[in-house]
Symmetry: C2
């Protein structure tokens, strides 16, 4: 026991150098960690087993301990605790695997062949539509909103996001659009209603599919918006436009080429695609072990340098790249607050451990966008170099037009 406690202590003193953390160890000993800056936090590790697990695999262990009650906050809240982790992440001593071993592990983790892709999607998105209703906006947009103005509500910012993307798609009535990873159908329905496009939405989540179909029917859109349970590798095409929001994070590096080859294959010659995905400032990197195990199995957040080679090899032209920085931090903050407001209901629906897991997930995600340089990129692609107007002015003009109350096509 003593040995384990000592190794935890030396690990903590090496890695927690900023902030103000008082840590009560099992057996009564107390460590003062950090430089005394920021809000004072008091945490307790409840058993020697948890001390050992955190020391052995901190990337996995801290999240598991929080989730399973092995780490209890006695003073301060989880958001401040997560900020302290984020501020100290730069001191983390990485255990280096050899590059070949790492490559093999990543290939395996992110392989995402059809059956694995479906299983990984089900793990997250089939949890319960009722859960997602408790923290998302009313349209159930489960991706970064666009705060065109800082005072926007989450609902307004999610609508602004859909219009921001619609504007970049340069849509015309009657165009055929494919939405890869359509979620609960909000984007597809907005595109159809506001631009007169015909949209095919595909998802691998049976829960999402059922609700998307129900919503389209209720809004009288079933003839122009169709949803199906289809893998992006199995769509016939062609489409005038492709949109894919918050789905590329699940593709995995071994499939980047297949993904962009698929987009090139599915687009008409004058086709345009808009891919909206989370990115990280440096690559290649490792997905946090806790996130990979409990939240997004099979996922990977790329650096831009990891995405562009596959785009170029697919023969697609990059026509614009917008980087959205703090928008996702604000989106996650809104989700976290809504989740907290509905926590009792969620605890009844799922359980207490699930609530702690979800709080930790939303908290570390917000921290990554606010303090660790994570961003969202919207990369616009075309099959031909001359398809779109030569300045970006059309984007702002289309966006303004979509936001006027009389704009609706259908």
């Amino acid at each position: 026991m003593w040995g384990e406690r000592m190794s935890l202590q030396s690990f903590l003193q090496n890695t927690v150098r900023e902030g103000d953390l008082t840590l009560r160890l099992p057996g009564g000993r107390t460590l003062r960690l950090g430089d005394g800056s920021g809000p004072p936090l008091v945490a307790r590790i409840t058993s020697p087993m948890w001390a050992a697990r955190i020391a052995a695999k901190p990337g996995l262990g801290v999240g598991e301990a929080y989730m399973d009650g092995g780490l209890v906050l006695e003073q301060g809240d989880v958001a401040d605790f997560i900020n302290l982790i984020g501020a100290n992440a730069k001191y983390k001593a990485h255990k280096k695997r050899g590059p070949l071993k790492r490559w093999l592990r990543d290939r395996r983790r992110e392989a995402n062949h059809r059956r694995a892709a479906r299983r990984n999607v089900a793990r997250h998105y089939d949890l319960s539509n009722e859960l997602y209703r408790r923290f998302l906006d009313e349209d159930m947009q489960y991706s970064c909103a666009y705060f065109a103005r800082p005072d926007m509500t989450l609902e307004e910012a999610q609508l602004a996001k859909k219009r921001h993307i619609a504007a970049k798609l340069a849509l015309e009535p009657g165009m055929k659009v494919l939405d890869i990873g359509c979620g609960w159908g909000g984007m597809a329905m907005t595109l159809a209603e506001e631009t007169g496009a015909e949209v095919d939405g595909i998802t691998l989540s049976t829960e999402q599919l059922a609700l998307a179909q129900e919503r389209a029917q209720a809004r009288g859109l079933s003839n122009r918006v169709r949803f199906s349970l289809t893998d992006y590798r199995d769509v016939p095409g062609p489409y005038d436009r492709i949109v894919s929001v918050g789905m590329f994070e699940h593709v995995g590096r071994p499939n980047y080429q297949a993904y962009f080859d698929g987009i090139a294959r599915l687009l008409t010659d004058d086709g345009v695609a808009l891919i909206h995905s989370i990115g990280r400032p440096e690559g290649p990197n490792v997905t946090n072990a806790w996130v990979a195990k409990y939240i997004f199995p099979g996922g990977y957040i790329p650096a831009l340098s990891e995405v562009l080679p596959a785009i170029e090899r697919a023969g697609l032209y990059v026509t614009d790249i917008e980087i959205l920085r703090l928008h996702y931090a604000e989106t996650l903050k809104a989700w976290r607050e809504r989740f907290a407001a509905n926590r009792a209901e969620v605890a009844q629906m799922m359980d207490e451990r699930f609530c702690r897991m979800w709080e930790f997930y939303l908290g570390i995600s917000e921290m990554a966008f606010r303090h660790r340089g994570h961003f969202v990129f919207q990369v616009q692609l075309a099959k031909r170099s001359g398809t779109l107007p030569i300045t970006r002015d059309y984007m702002g003009e289309a966006e303004a037009k979509l936001s006027r109350p009389d704009r609706r096509v259908a």
Copy 2:
């Protein structure tokens, strides 16, 4: 002779499959090449020596033959001839070198250590300021203009380019700006006059330096705009803003990391940089042998996938990437027309061979942007993720403000 002529014939029939080219070979034989589409062209190869040189190294030989009178157009003009080359480029049978050999050759060609960089710059930019006056706009902007409206003159589009870039730099009066590759000083002077910034412009061309200093003095800007003959690796810094327009094409792949490390080193913590460079749709590729020998020794046009790794490793945040597509084709067309209008003067100043060389250079460059997917990228970089506003709206607002007649700060 016969053997050489036959190998030229078989080379031509394999590679010229589109267009309508009648080629008169030395000795009287005539080849009809292409599929009969497009304007009819008649070209004559004037000697067996030129036939052999074109067959042996077409990438170098066609340009040299045109320049030195070994290939004469009897019907059609050089622009149509270049378009025919462009349309058939996809049939070119590349002689493959091994990857190691190619890598070694590229390292050598693009090494651009300080002395080589200066020599390569002198080869092009020190030719004669009077030459550049004969085809550039009055401000001598030797980079892609920005045709904010299609009816803009070259002068208007070059001013629009400078303001488009100024808007992305989010400049405030008194900020210190570094212009890497300042040319004849137009960008630096416009930034100082229109935003109140203090600008240091650096170039490796003595001709450019002399004229830039003369112009700054004539406009009463010598106290706020300083020019010097300095390598980007030798600037002390720091600067609030860095702008580099049409210079990155001369850096060469072996120096990409040093270039972006330099930008990271030179920027203040709240610093922003805007790099404007030509890009190509696929990479890695080979600089055309004729261009490398006669026009831009040491140069390399990258794919985006070749640029981003060095940016990320330098710890810089990409905050925006705009892709300008047909703007450079229009710019080059305007240069080509102005050059043609002043051809007699240039021939007297330089010589007839120089004029043919320059026509070929402007022609193949225009073709690359119009038909081969070349583009200009403007990549905006920041030291910190939270430096700039969270939407791109500020760019358009600043641009509109700069374009109002009462906007001048100084």
